[in-house]
């Protein structure tokens, strides 16, 4: 019987050793002495969000290498760890949408700074089935509006702007599951324009999108984020990173099909090619704006950011902060 126990133990050890030797997907180029190393952690799982795409393309097409950068590309599991890791300095760059960035600077006071605004307009919107027949958010009265986690501030602003009575609208926490809308459990559901609509249309549903930007409500999208300390001590590396990433984004703009193939390398077989193409095309629309035309791609406008911060203060009882500290255009100006 001792013999058998030994056999079982040895088998277990072999299995565990084989597991430990399994490498994770994603490439890590070999380090040559002249390269500077840094870590980029995408703020969510691998997909065709524009800031991610810039990094994927820069990695695969050698834009980082050309600037002597050795970048480890990683992905956040989706619970906010990426912000903590950047604040601690364990990761140099991550991504985050501007509203969350501003909120985290306020509470708990993470020293995070955006150094490139890729989504000049946010992707947040609200979807309803065309069959509901809504013509404006005023029609949401006496219906159910879902939300993920907490009701987003733009929801309240949107309802107010459309002249609807918030008290006549039922709000329900539904978490991530767009099927809730298609199955009719809620009438309105928060989405990212570049994401869920594709799924729902693929399922054969026609949807209406309600974009808070259309109602004059401030909306800003994804940024490249670093910490104040990294910005102070490694701004050169960050500058090179940003250059390469934007070069990657512009390449993707010209070669979207190729860019999608690159994304799929990171995203894996669970991901749908057309979905990624849809996401890329949607987000490219918000890369440029009058502000970037006047300055450069990735530019932050103080008035724009202040308006967003004010929205958060009004609807989310956020403590006001000095918004000018939440972003920097310095690295964009080094051109």
């Amino acid at each position: 019987m001792h013999h058998r126990l030994k056999l079982i133990s040895i088998t277990l050890i072999i299995i565990s050793l084989s597991a430990c030797s399994t490498m994770s997907p994603g490439t890590t180029p070999t380090i040559t002495p002249a390269m500077d190393h840094m870590t980029f952690m995408a703020g969510y799982k691998p997909q065709a969000n524009l800031p991610f795409v810039g990094v994927y393309v820069a990695q695969e097409k050698g834009f980082f290498a050309a600037r002597h950068l050795n970048v480890s590309v990683e992905h956040s599991p989706g619970s906010g760890q990426h912000l903590q890791l950047v604040a601690q300095g364990k990761v140099q760059v991550t991504t985050q949408d501007a509203a969350i960035l501003i909120k985290r600077r306020s509470d708990p006071g993470l020293p995070l700074v955006s150094f490139g605004l890729i989504g000049q307009t946010g992707q947040q919107a609200f979807a309803s089935l065309k069959s509901s027949g809504f013509t404006s958010p005023k029609d949401w009265e006496n219906h159910i509006v879902g939300f993920k986690g907490t009701p987003p501030p733009e929801l309240f602003a949107l309802i107010k702007a459309a002249g609807a009575d918030i008290n006549k609208i039922e709000l329900v926490n539904v978490g991530f599951d767009p099927r809730i809308l298609t199955e009719g459990k809620v009438d309105v559901y928060p989405v990212y324009k570049s994401n869920e609509p594709f799924m729902m249309q693929a399922w054969g549903y026609e949807i209406d999108l309600w974009d808070s930007a259309d109602y004059g409500i401030p909306s800003i999208g994804l940024t490249y984020v670093t910490s104040e300390e990294t910005l102070a001590t490694q701004s050169d590396i960050l500058g090179r990173f940003l250059d390469a990433a934007i070069e990657g984004i512009l390449y993707a703009e010209k070669n979207p099909a190729e860019a999608v193939e690159i994304v799929l390398k990171y995203a894996g077989p669970e991901t749908d090619r057309e979905h990624m193409r849809f996401m890329l095309d949607s987000e490219l629309k918000d890369l440029r704006s009058p502000i970037t035309d006047e300055n450069t791609i990735g530019w932050h406008d103080l008035a724009q950011w202040q308006a967003l911060a004010d929205l958060l203060v009004e609807y989310e009882t956020m403590q006001p902060i000095d918004v000018s500290k939440a972003f920097t255009n310095d690295l964009l100006m080094k051109k």
Binding site: R4, I8, I15, A19, C20, T22, S24, F176, M199, H275
Partner: protein
Amino acid sequence: MQPNKSQKTLLITLSIVLIFFIGWEVGVLLTDTPVYLLPAPSRIIQTLVLHPETFTQATVLTLGEALTGLLIGVLAGILLATVLTLLPGIEDGVMTLAILIKSTPMVAIAPLLTLWLGFGVLPKIIITALMSFFPVLINVLSGMQRVDPALLDLFKSWNASRWEIFRHLRAPSAIPYLFTALKITGPLSLIGAVVAEWTGASGGLGRTMWLAYTNLNLPFLFAAIFILAASGMLIYRITTWAEAKAVFWQPAQMNS
């Protein structure tokens, strides 16, 4: 040839499983359920077959994490039970600590571990070990303490020392109890690894499930679930097989 009893049991089991899957397939077909709500088994199998490398890699990783954590947890449980049996004075204190660990929800600890140790296999192994260790500790301790009083009398009449009683009586007595614990923690370790992966992983079945879910790629999600279920069953069967060999003097509890 008349099928013997175990062949009959196998046949019955397979039939039940087959009926279940056929029913599922037909149900989806008849109700025209969309794939993003509930995929048909045929579609799930198809997904499995089309991505053998992805699933194999993920399975090996998760199984590796689970089994490594299981091994560590089991060894820790046995070791601690041994110490507590040989040094009964510290039992209360140590058990209080063990219960504290056990009562802390893993869902709270897992993200912390991920933050400290990264997305590699280590946090998963730790979580799985923590989950596996308590049932083993409790059961093995029970087995070591609850020996047949008649045997204890006998050993005392032989003037056996505490260590001799442990080695010849308590330790072997605990083996059936160990296997009872293993039947629980074996499949549980798999769940532990998967849950730990949900809080951050670079690979594995848990990660595949999370990615598939957020893409609402249900065939992929279910394929991973199938693999997990099959793995859990395999682990359980291996455990009962080993139990029959190790605890040969007790017939398995089966209705004849």
